[in-house]
């Protein structure tokens, strides 16, 4: 069949299939274990921390398959936030499964007022656009905040995402706190440019920094205009980032969320405009994320997502309470985008 395997009902357990649309309640048992209740059945879902870039060896994938066989007749799923998610038929089994996973080095946690997971893009691991290496940042953050994943409670749901560049493949801008890589140098044009659609490439540029040189069959990137967004690099193999070593960095972006609960769907805002890349452990980045989490934990009301708390106290107080300095780059000067956000859409 063309397209995805379907219908999906062929890939779910009978216990799930007979309860489609008949679930009555889902209940949080402990970090990483959720109970689903219908009139006749109960099942448990177990949420697992992913490796930071969601890459696994085939050995581990087969071990996951074995666990799915052992506890739920060979069925499991993956969440959009990278978590492998297992099922169990009893709470006792769910706890055994948790132990099995933890002995494999995969902590179980998330849901309710905890960290749900950390998502990350490929970064230097497998991508040409990365300004910063997302997986190593995600791993460093994970090690620092794991207690909020499987132990300590936060005021509300909390998510983290790391993306290596403004393309935000790692889900940055969506999460409560995200890290996004920033290119500080402009891309350069190589001889491969001849294979590119020049007009198309010039049109992609959001700030008109690409000048067509039709006679020479090439383009020129105007340094003073370029904002380093990387759109042209992604579209044409004749334009590459050839950043001098060690100069790129990343921004700390705060306050994304998707659910309708006020203040509704939000895209994250730039709180710290630039931190230089500092692998492997990114001390300053981790410190700033921890500072925001801890201040939010101390000050917010129960059930208040990070951005809800910030909207209540205002950005001025946010900077004051967290002790994070305010930089002028946090003010938007790109274009009339703010006007559009004010006037159009967002209705219920």
């Amino acid at each position: 069949m063309e397209g995805p395997p379907r219908p999906y009902t062929e890939y779910i357990h009978d216990m799930i299939k007979r309860n489609i649309g008949k679930w009555k309640e889902h209940r949080f048992v402990e970090p990483g274990i959720m109970e689903h209740i219908s009139d006749n059945d109960k099942i448990y879902t177990i949420r697992v921390a992913s490796t930071s870039n969601a890459r696994y060896s085939t050995d581990t994938i087969r071990k996951f398959a074995d666990l799915a066989d052992k506890y739920f007749d060979g069925y499991m799923r993956f969440t959009g936030a990278f978590n492998p998610e297992f099922f169990a038929k009893t709470l006792e089994d769910a706890k055994k499964l948790k132990k099995d996973l933890e002995s494999m080095g995969f902590p179980v946690g998330g849901w309710e007022n905890h960290l749900w997971n950390i998502t990350s893009c490929a970064g230097y691991f497998h991508c040409a656009l990365a300004a910063t290496d997302a997986p190593s940042i995600a791993k460093s953050l994970g090690d620092a905040v794991i207690k909020y994943f499987n132990k300590d409670e936060l005021p509300a749901k909390f998510t983290l995402a790391v993306s290596g560049c403004p393309s935000a493949c790692g889900g940055a801008y969506l999460a409560d706190i995200s890290i996004v890589g920033i290119h500080t140098e402009i891309p350069i044009v190589t001889e491969n440019i001849k294979s590119c659609d020049l007009m198309g490439t010039a049109m992609i540029c959001p700030v008109g920094a690409i000048q067509l040189k039709q006679a020479e069959k090439t383009i020129e990137i105007r340094e003073n205009l370029c904002i380093g967004c990387g759109l042209c690099v992604g579209a044409c193999s004749g334009i590459i980032f050839r950043t001098p070593e060690k100069t790129d960095g990343h921004a700390v972006i705060v306050g994304g969320k998707a659910s309708s609960i006020p203040p509704g769907t939000q895209i994250g805002r730039v709180v710290i405009p630039f931190i230089p890349n500092d692998p492997p452990r990114y001390e300053l980045t981790v410190k700033s994320v921890l500072r925001i989490i801890e201040t939010w934990k101390k000050e917010a009301k129960k059930g208040e997502r990070l951005i809800a708390w910030i909207e209540r106290i205002g950005w001025e107080k946010f900077f004051e309470k967290t002790g994070i300095p305010f930089f002028k780059q946090s003010m938007d000067d790109l274009d009339l985008r703010s006007l559009m956000l004010l006037r159009e859409g967002g209705g219920k």
Partner: protein, 393 residues
């Protein structure tokens, strides 16, 4: 042959990333044939060593392959990544996982990217000359590659009614039906840029449709949510008060132990539903909201999606999607995302193009300037409508 200096130093750096309680991707990667030396060197140099390669053209495989080109062939080889569709709701079976592992061992580097942000799987490290064999063999096992290029990217949904009582419609089934009708748009890259459909079964939006969807469908309802009285009785007074005080619009009141929700004040935000332990559920008069223009990338940076239509049946969306596709193909510039196109031409023009009447829910605020045109025809129509609504002859 000795490794270059940056590899030796890089391998020292990545040792550090094997420590700590969070699952280590380095430990996982060491069990594969992925070129870890290349990655190690890039961490030491603080510079990406992959470079863009554009698209790989393989006959019979219009979408599903990503090219990865190394800039340092001496320490790591170029490779392709193949993207794989999952069943709706990302439900997988152990058989499917073992099958993927077998393919990754045979064709790839024994590594599986088990779920990307757009909710498909990837098998990295497949050499170009092996792709045709891979795809043919892979398709024979009932799986399909896809979701790259300027086509419909992977449509994602929440788990829907398969695991969640909040779902207002069968979102995974809706995705299946979407592919029954629109698979050609997903298979062949014919759009100005990529297009993504995201589907959430309730306003909590677990599929993150309102953030990521060029086109998004979110299940909702009209009026007050449904109260299951016999379950509500089981809640303590403290829990009841939490629900009452939790409502952001003050729509919930408690009189003589009886909880009431004022439908007119309800904004369907799901806060009470979440607090109610299964005793409050989405209301019975379902509405399905269609949003457009959400994205994270593109010319103007990230946008949240904007509401364009309230539907009584989610399947009404299919015809609207067809129209949006046509408008997008005709009006967007090359590599312009739908959200950027709408920003450029304005929401009002976009609504005209998809033949939707402008409604107050399309805006957050009204215009303040009076620099617009009213045609003679519209003048008459406005006068008639005003008289009809406000009284007069």
């Amino acid at each position: 042959m000795n490794d270059p200096d940056e590899v030796v130093k890089g391998l020292e750096i990545i040792k550090e990333l094997k420590k700590g309680p969070w699952p280590s991707y380095i430990t996982e990667t060491e069990k594969t044939r992925y070129p870890l030396k290349l990655y190690a060197a890039s961490l030491y140099l603080k510079r990406d060593l992959w470079t863009t390669g554009g698209y790989v053209s393989v006959p019979g495989v219009p979408t599903g392959i990503l090219m990865r080109v190394t800039s340092r062939p001496d320490i790591g080889e170029s490779a392709n990544v193949v993207r794989v569709y999952l069943p709706s709701g990302n439900f997988v079976t152990s058989k499917m996982l073992r099958n993927l592992a077998d393919f990754a061992d045979k064709y790839g580097v024994s590594m599986v990217h088990a779920i990307t942000t757009s909710e498909d799987f990837e098998i990295p490290g497949i050499p170009k000359e092996k792709i045709r064999d891979f795809v043919a063999e892979f398709r024979a096992t009932g799986m399909e590659v896809g979701s790259t290029g300027d086509a419909f990217r992977n449509t994602t949904t929440c788990v829907g009614p398969a695991l969640c009582e909040y779902a207002t419609f069968d979102t995974p089934k809706f995705r299946d039906d979407f592919y029954n009708r629109f698979n050609d748009y997903a298979k062949y890259p014919t759009f100005p840029h990529k297009l993504k459909l995201k589907i959430s079964g309730c306003p909590l939006d677990c599929a993150r449709a309102s953030q990521k969807g060029d086109i998004a469908i979110i299940g909702s309802w009209e009026g007050a949510p449904l109260i299951i009285r016999e379950k509500l009785k089981l809640l303590s007074e403290k829990e009841m008060l939490e629900i009452v005080n939790g409502c952001p619009t003050g729509a919930i009141s408690l009189k003589n132990g009886e909880l009431n929700i004022e439908g007119d004040l309800c904004t369907q935000c799901m806060k009470c539903v979440k607090l109610s332990k299964g005793s409050i559920l989405p209301g019975e008069k379902k509405k399905y909201l269609l949003y457009v223009g959400g994205k994270l990338r593109g010319k103007k940076g990230p946008f949240t999606a904007k509401l364009v239509e309230k539907m009584d049946d989610p399947y009404q969306a299919f015809d609207i999607i067809e129209r949006i596709i046509n408008v997008y193909i005709e009006n967007a510039a090359r590599k312009e995302r739908l959200g950027d196109m709408i920003f450029r031409i304005g929401m009002k023009n976009f609504l005209d193009l998809i033949e939707k009447e402008e409604k107050p829910y399309h805006i957050k605020d009204l215009r303040t300037n009076i620099f617009y045109k009213v045609s003679e025809e519209e003048k008459t129509k406005m006068l008639e409508e005003l008289k009809k609504s406000l009284g007069g002859e």
